[in-house]
Every structure is written in structure tokens, then in C-alpha cells.
Amino acid sequence: MYKATIGIEVHSQIKTRSKMFCGCKVEFLSAPNTNICSICMGEPGVLPYTNEKAILLAIRAALALNAQINKKSVFARKNYYYPDLTKGYQITQSVPLAENGYVVINTENGEKKITIHRIHIEEDTGKLFHTNDKVSMIDFNRSGVPLLEIVTDPVIENEKEAISYLKRLRQIIRYIDISGADMEKGQFRCEPNISVSKDNRRGIKTEVKNLNSLKAVEKAIKYEIERQITILEKGGKIIQQTMLWDEKEQVTKTMRSKEGIAEYRYFKEPDLIPLIITNEMINEQKELIPELPQSKFNRLVKEYNIGINEAEILIDNPRLSNYFEKSIEKGCGIKESLGWITTDIMGILNKSEKKFSYLKITPQHLADLYKYIENKIINMNIAKNILHEIAFTGEPVDKYIKSKNLIQITDTKSIEKIIDEILEENPTEVKRYLKGNNKLFGFFVGQAMKKMGGKANPTIVNKLLKDILNRR
């Protein structure tokens, strides 16, 4: 039986207004090469200076990832030539900002700690565009944007764990508000390294690049594990190399083998003094860390007794779980709130492709709707309709129900009258029903509800219909 061993390197952009080592704006929608200066263009004679905000955000991330922060970390140069690199080296860290952290994920066998080896700060490169065979263009707007590199130990066993880890990590980064961590925008980039082995020794690993979505990460890891096992089964050997995921063909392809692995000639960055982290900086950032996903997950499950899947949906976006908890606080039912949020509201947002922040329904709206249902003034279907109607207007529930005359019909006399009418209008169906076709009961309910604009209390309709039919 082969066992896979996976480690993951994540590069997450740090959300700052200016770049890591100069004052240029960080802005992704700008025209190419408009957010550049002599420093991030690596002009002769310039020197980098550190963006304190980026360092504070990095400290916050390290704390949220349970890592030990080095009071003194050291910047270093990673030397290589590439057109998107303006200085011929990338500034990174030799002594990292933090080490020995972990992220807790949920697996089929319960919680698992994914240990983090190191967390360090570095700068991003520019972006290369190949227009055709002869012309390449470079946009340096991204050159010098702050990045956080987060490297796990090789403790991940399969693609499912890898995805759980990446999702959880991304949630944490969003919770502490240091990045949008949007993979499509390149704010969150993953490079897994994978090996397989039959015993406890780690096999030769390969690294996979060019993964632009979690789906791609999942497929690439799975593919790479199978590819390696197939080779070993045939008596072959794995070559240490960097692979590229080919999205079109859904396979990994060799990018460069070990012989081609660059000699980065690392050395201490002489233009920057060591980074000194004080207790004040650490304490200040500690205060800014909210309840993190895993604790929130555990708490929601325990406190509200909700399912694991629903809890995962709620914590994926802290605003969603806060919204849920607020609605309960305002008096909404747990089951109702959960249903409305996870199906109706999420559905409305998905369909309209709008962000959560555009939503005008407040937790109070949910609590109000719940009150109307509890008091049997409206039914669930009406409530769902109301949600759709007021999603982006935010009209108060009271006002809406009154203006649309949606108050449930509970008056038995009028309901009976309607039932009589529809039975009159459908004599054939009545005959068939009386002959034993019970399925037609639902048809009569539907007809009656339709006639009353959906406002009738379905329980009463059911009861009265049964009584009337029984009398026939």
C-alpha cells in the first residue's frame, strides 16, 4: 500500500495600500506600469525600505497560525535572472518572521493539526504577458507587492486534506483581514510537493505549479500521486522535478528537472537591517484577531446543535456566521434561520452574482419573518417569496406583508367556500378521488392555495379539505 506525503507552500498577498519596499500603490486594476517607481523598478542607486503595515499584518497572520514569532528576522536575497524580476534578485527572508505554527482541519477521523514549518515575508515579481511568438510584455505594477509565504511540514496525506487545509488557511487569512486571498486574482497561490512511499521513509518529491483554483489543486495532487505510483509499480524511479499542471489536458508536465534547479546564491540582504519585532507589536496584533474558523466551527456545532456541513458553510464567511448568530439573538428560529441563509439568501446572491455586502435583508428581517410564521400569519412559502422580493430593497417585513395583503387566511368559513368552489369546478377529479385515487388530494390543496394567492394556512386547508371530502 502506497502512502502519499504532501507539503504545501502558499504565497498570499498582504493587503496593504503600498508596496513592501517602496511607496507605490498596490492596485490591480491599474493600467500596466502605472504603479511603479525607481525603487520597485530596481533603478541604479535605489534602496528598499520596509512597509511597517505589511509587517504588522504578517505578525497578525503568524499569530493566527499559532506560530512562534522570531524577535529578530533577517532579510535575504534570492538571486536569479528573469525579466519580471527588476533587480536580478528577490528580497525574501533567511531567518523567517515566524516558525512552528499549525492549522486545525476537520477530517473523517476528527480534527487534525497541519503543522507549519515557516512563515516569512517576501516581495512579488512583475507579470509577464506573451502576446505571440516574438513579443513578450512586462507589467511591473505587481513588482514589490508584499507576500507572505506559508510552508507546511510534509504532513498532509491526500488531496482531501490538502483542500481542507487550503480552505481553512484561506478562511483564517480572510478572518484576520490581511488579504482577499482570491486565487483567480493571484492573491493566493499554492504549490504542493508530493511524494509516495511504501514505508515511513519519504519518497522523492515533485513540486506542482500553475494551480489557479482549489479544483486544480485537488486534481493535480490526485493525478501526481497516481502518476508516481504507476511509475514505481513498473519498477521505475521518480525524478525530483518541478511539474506544471496543464489545465486543458488535466495532466502534470515536467517544467524542469533537478539538474535545472537554479542555484539561488542566497545571502543576507545588506540593504536592510534585521527586522526587530517588539512585544508591543505582537500584543497590538493579538487584540485584532477575532474568533478563528475552527473555534467558531466547534462553537456553532455545540451551541446551536447544527450539522457539520451547515457549520462549514456558515464559517466559510465570517459575515455569514455573524449574520446567523445575530438573527438567533433577535429571536429567529435556528432551523429557519439556517434554512433561509444557506439556501434562500445564498441562492439569491449566487443567482444575482452579487456580494454579501449588497444584501439588504438584515438579521432583524429574519427574526420578523419567523415571528409571522410562528403566529401563523404567513406560511413558509410566503416567507421565502418575501425574502426574494426584499433582498435588495430591505423593506421592513411588516410593511411588505401589509402592503401586499399577504396575511394568511385562517378564517375557516372563507376557506370552506373556496374549497367548495374548486370541488365544483373539478367534478372528474372528485369522482376519481372518491374511487380511491388518493394522490389527487395534493391537487385539490394546490388548487385551493392558488385560488387564495398562497395566503391560506396550509394546515387548515388540509384539515378542511379532508373533512369536506370525507362527507361526500
Partner: protein
């Protein structure tokens, strides 16, 4: 002093006063220097910005008329080594690579000088990317030594030192990575300072070896240099390696007795007899004046050059990687691949010595050679500790600036080992971070200048200047001028 004497020999203070008192017009002063530069045959300048300097002089004259407050360097013309950025002007580093490259910003030191009403004249010659000890590796040709045109002015700030010696500027900026200010100052008979690492902002100095580079002044006397130092030194947020220290205050005259250490290297056979003789005679003079003189065994002069070469070339190989022919600077005419673009642009754009150092530094930084790099760091740490020890007992430490007086042009250019060896005494200060000043110490029998290096404790420029000024108050060596200039 009449005006022409003032212009040739005057101190910054004297010239500034003459200008402020209306004895000398700024335009007249600047014109005088411009004429000298134009008439020179020593190739000390790469570029001269005559119009700009005269415009600036007129502005200052106007400012004076309008009773504006004159800066500390009011009307004083200065030259800048051509590896320091002055906005809008070329900064060539004496390399084909940057031949037409114009700086897009001012170096911090330039802003500080201009804020005190100094007048920028032009850019001086240097060894390509400051890599050399003779100015012979310049893409624009060698600068000649004003004392003997068949000899080198030293390097890499050879243009700046030669410009001062030949009266083409009142002071000049240089840069010093292993002795590039002090050695040419000694070869040209002028005074040159490399301050404590971290005192003067490097922002705008094109990097050679970042952890060793310092910008510094070359001028007519220690007194002038101290004034310049007080203006250009101090914390700069654009250079995180600058220290947050108090603003430097110019030291007053002193009657104190100095505790002076001098290196036993003076008695080494490698030292030319003239240099040894002059240093011993000044030491005698100091002794007669009642100062405490002691010989100290200093064992690092043999190690400084290899360690310096390893560290400086390693950093240089990385610092010069940005010249890839893509964003600015020299680009090869034709290429078929990215690799070819890199190889040809760099191969054609850099000169021999620069390529030699990049190759050496690249080799040193490879993972397998890490031991060489880290042990070199240890040696520089030892040098620093050794000097620290000396300064627990002594105020200043004296060494020759060079082994020999200026050599002939072409004499050792093909012998890099010998050329590098001339940094032995000066590179000590770069490795340890200590401040060092080279002051002129008279002439050899052949009328060639000699220099003496004074080293002080780190961040104790005050002591360094006090002592250097004291020597220049009891001697006249710094007033010697080449025949032509007199």
C-alpha cells in the same frame, strides 16, 4: 588673500564669507572653476553642466540681494563622482552599460548639499562601477594624476581627487568601498573621508558592495571635510542602514593631548621608504608636542584584501544583476533568445574588471562555497573587535594610506592581484565599519604625494576630525599644490 588665491586655496568658510560679503560674486566664482575644468587635460570630469551651474549661481546671487538666509555652503561649487544620482543628469558609473542612463531622482546627499546652497558643477571620472584603484577601468579613459601626468590618480574616486588637487572644485563627493576615497586622496595630495558605516545615506549611490559602501567628501582640508560631513551625515529613512544618531556638531579647537597608536606595519618592507620616513617624522613631531605615541601590533593588513575581495565581489555580483538590458542601460543590438539578450547585453556592456568581479562573486555565493563567505564575515568581525580593543586605550590609530606613492599608468593594470593589494590598509575600515581619513603627508623625493590614514572609533568622527585638524594646524602638507595649480 586675493580672489585668485582664495579660489585656489581658500577654505569653504573663507570662500563663503567672501561671497556673502560681496567680495566675490557667485557667478564669477563658478565661472572660474568652469574655466579650469574646461582647460584641464587630466580627464577628471565625465560631464560638466556649465549652464546649470551658472543658472544656480545667478539664483544664489539674487537670493543674496533679496537678503535670503545663506546656507552653510553658500555658493560653494562641488563635483560628484559619476556613480551618485543627480536628478535629470547622466549617471554613467564610467560604464558602457549606463553610458546614456539619466537618474530619475536625487541622491539624499545631493539634496542635503543643495539645501545648503552648494553649486553642482558636474560628474567626475571613476573606475567602472567603482571597481578599481587607478581610474584606469573607466569606459571614458584614465584620469591623469595632476602631480605627474604619467601616473594614475588612484581610484576608484580618481576623478574627484584629481579635480580637487588641480583646483577644479572646492570639494567633491566620492564613494569608498575598500579605499576608493582615501587612496586617490593620498595619491593626489588631498584630504578624503570615509565615515563610519551608517553615518551617510547611500540612497542614490549606485551600489558596488552595499555593506561596505559609504559616500564621503574629498577636499582641501580636514576642516572643510568636517563641515561637509556635518551636512551630509545623519539618518535617512530611505536608507535603513543609516543610524539614528544626533546631528553632527563641528568640533572646536583643542589643546588636549592625544593617545596615538600606530601600526607596526610601518616597518614592513612593502612600505616605500618615503612613506615610512614621513610618517615617522610626523610621529616624532607629535611626540615632541607632548602626545602619547605607541606602536601597536596589528595583524590584519595581510588578511584584509582577500576578505574584502570575497565580501565585496559577492555583493557586487548581486548588485550588478539588475543591468540586464531590459529596462534601461545598454542593450545588445540583436538577440534570438532571452539568454542571448542577457549574455550579450552584459557581455558587451561591462568591462573586464567588472566581469572578473561578478564572476568571482557569483562563484563565492554558490551554496558549495558558503564556508568561504561565512569565514570572511568572521574575519571582518575579528578586525572590528581588534580595532575596538585598540580604541579602549587610544584615541586614534595611524596607518599609511597606501604602500607606495602613485604608480605609472598601465604599470599594474594587467596584474589584478597587485592592484587589489593596494587596498590593504584602507579596506580595514570598510570591513570593520570604522571611520578613516587620509590626509596628505608631503611629497616623495620625486615630488609625488604621500598620504597617512587616521582611523577612529566607530561613530567617533568628532575625535577623528579633531585630531586631523590638529595635525593640519601644526603642518602645511595639505596646502601643497601641484606646480600647474600654483
Amino acid at each position: 588673500m586675493n580672489n585668485s588665491e582664495l579660489i585656489a586655496k581658500g577654505s569653504i568658510k573663507e570662500i563663503r564669507e567672501a561671497v556673502i560679503n560681496g567680495k566675490l560674486h557667485t557667478v564669477e566664482l563658478v565661472n572660474c572653476f568652469i574655466q579650469r575644468i574646461k582647460n584641464n587635460r587630466i580627464n577628471s570630469f565625465i560631464s560638466l553642466y556649465e549652464d546649470n551651474a551658472l543658472k544656480r549661481a545667478e539664483e544664489l546671487d539674487k537670493k543674496l540681494k533679496n537678503r535670503g538666509k545663506p546656507g552653510k555652503l553658500f555658493g560653494i561649487p562641488y563635483a560628484v563622482k559619476d556613480n551618485i544620482a543627480v536628478k535629470g543628469y547622466e549617471v554613467t558609473c564610467a560604464s558602457k552599460m549606463l553610458k546614456n542612463y539619466k537618474a530619475t531622482y536625487n541622491a539624499t546627499v545631493i539634496n542635503r548639499l543643495n539645501d545648503e546652497d552648494a553649486i553642482f558643477l558636474g560628474k567626475t571620472n571613476l573606475d567602472e562601477f567603482a571597481m578599481g584603484s587607478s581610474t584606469e577601468t573607466s569606459y571614458f579613459g584614465t584620469t591623469l594624476n595632476p602631480w605627474d601626468n604619467s601616473r594614475v590618480p588612484g581610484g576608484s574616486s580618481g576623478g574627484s581627487a584629481a579635480a580637487i588637487a588641480s583646483g577644479e572644485s572646492v570639494f567633491a563627493l566620492g564613494s569608498d568601498t575598500g579605499g576608493s576615497i582615501r587612496q586617490p586622496a593620498a595619491f593626489c595630495g588631498v584630504t578624503g573621508l570615509k565615515a563610519t558605516y551608517g553615518c551617510v545615506s547611500r540612497f542614490g549611490l549606485v551600489a558596488f558592495a552595499s555593506s561596505l559602501d559609504q559616500v564621503g567628501p574629498i577636499g582641501r582640508s580636514a576642516e572643510d571635510l568636517e563641515l561637509i560631513f556635518s551636512i551630509i551625515s545623519g539618518f535617512d529613512k530611505k536608507d535603513t542602514t543609516t543610524k539614528r544618531i544626533e546631528n553632527y556638531k563641528v568640533s572646536g579647537p583643542t589643546k588636549r593631548k592625544f593617545n596615538i597608536a600606530y601600526t607596526n606595519d610601518i616597518f614592513s618592507e612593502e612600505i616605500s621608504p618615503d612613506i615610512k620616513g614621513n610618517i615617522l617624522s610626523i610621529l616624532n613631531l607629535l611626540k615632541e608636542e607632548g602626545h602619547n605615541i605607541s606602536e601597536v601590533a596589528f595583524n590584519f593588513s595581510k588578511h584584509s584584501v582577500p576578505v574584502y575581495q570575497i565580501l565585496s565581489c559577492s555583493e557586487a555580483s548581486s548588485n550588478l544583476a539588475r543591468y540586464d538590458g531590459i529596462r534601461y542601460g545598454y542593450q545588445t543590438k540583436s538577440y534570438k533568445s532571452l539568454l542571448e539578450l542577457y549574455n550579450r547585453s552584459r557581455g558587451e556592456g561591462f568591462g573586464e574588471e567588472v566581469k572578473r568581479r561578478i564572476l568571482f562573486g557569483t562563484y563565492i555565493l554558490m551554496a558549495k562555497n558558503n564556508a568561504l563567505y561565512t569565514s570572511s564575515f568572521k574575519v571582518s568581525r575579528l578586525i572590528r573587535e581588534n580595532l575596538e580593543n585598540i580604541f579602549t586605550e587610544y584615541d586614534v590609530f595611524i596607518t599609511p594610506t597606501t604602500f607606495n606613492p602613485p604608480f605609472k599608468i598601465g604599470e599594474i593594470i594587467d596584474d589584478p592581484i597587485r592592484m587589489h593589494h593596494s587596498d590593504a590598509f584602507t579596506s580595514i575600515c570598510n570591513l570593520s565599519g570604522n571611520p578613516g581619513i587620509s590626509i596628505p603627508l608631503g611629497l616623495t623625493g620625486n615630488n609625488l604625494p604621500i598620504g597617512m590614514q587616521i582611523i577612529a572609533k566607530r561613530f567617533d568622527e568628532n575625535n577623528l576630525f579633531q585630531f586631523a585638524k590638529y595635525i593640519q594646524s601644526i603642518t602645511d602638507y595639505h596646502k601643497c599644490l601641484p606646480e600647474e595649480v600654483k
